[in-house]
Symmetry: C2
């Protein structure tokens, strides 16, 4: 699926900060990680990521150090800063706001997708409880 560039742009910084909040990482690996997390749907080029990393570093949200991989290659490792953690929290709040708005708007009618997980616990030999946690996305 082709994603609009606006959506890619909007999710870029939050994704990078999230990945670096997990653990220190470097450019090439971040691209791979995003590919993984998105199941191949979000495909960044390195030419997209590097300038973003530089911008985030310039604004103090992440910090870098040069290192050498076990393989002998040189890598620039990035780590999130406290300021970056704050920004990440702000991004999350903003996404919640916008997603809540879209969800409200889309709550019109006609279910488009339901994603969920069902679990089942036997209370006794004759009675079981089935629980489902689900998110509904509806078409207007």
């Amino acid at each position: 699926m082709k994603l609009t560039k606006d959506l890619v742009a909007a999710s870029a910084a939050p994704l990078v900060l999230t990945i670096l909040a997990e653990s220190e990482s470097y450019g090439y690996a971040i691209v791979k990680r995003v590919d993984e997390l998105s199941d191949g749907e979000i495909a960044w080029t390195d030419g997209f990521l590097y300038p973003l990393l530089h911008r985030l570093e310039d604004s103090g949200q992440i910090a870098s150090r040069w290192g050498v991989a076990e393989t002998g290659r040189r890598r620039r490792y990035y780590a999130i800063t406290d300021s970056g953690r704050g920004e990440l929290a702000a991004h999350q709040a903003q996404w919640r706001t916008v997603v809540a708005t879209l969800r409200t708007a889309w709550a019109g009618s006609g279910a488009a997708l339901r994603v969920g997980v069902t679990s089942r616990i036997a209370v006794s030999s004759r009675i079981a409880v089935s629980s489902r946690v689900a998110a509904d996305w509806r078409l207007a």
Copy 2:
């Protein structure tokens, strides 16, 4: 809360299409509706909306007609087209993809927010089943 312009840009077209999918509307009212839907968090200026409407019309996703309100004012009413409905569905699929990715990434640890609804049904005088449908947002 201040929203990043990327996030505003990414949600703009989907929001307009969604609103017009509900019913025909016009510029001024769309701005108000977005304010309403977002609980005041998404504040568009008219200078932001009009060019967007023109772009959507140019690309055939919406169509306009001039009309006169009960109040006597002239208004340009917009309606969604079939092509627009298709685009809207595409936007929804894209948002699902990106939101799913972010949710996966944020599923690390430390619950940040849980929103949900709980319902309870008595199966008999001694047994009740409580169900909860919830969405979890976690900080990494």
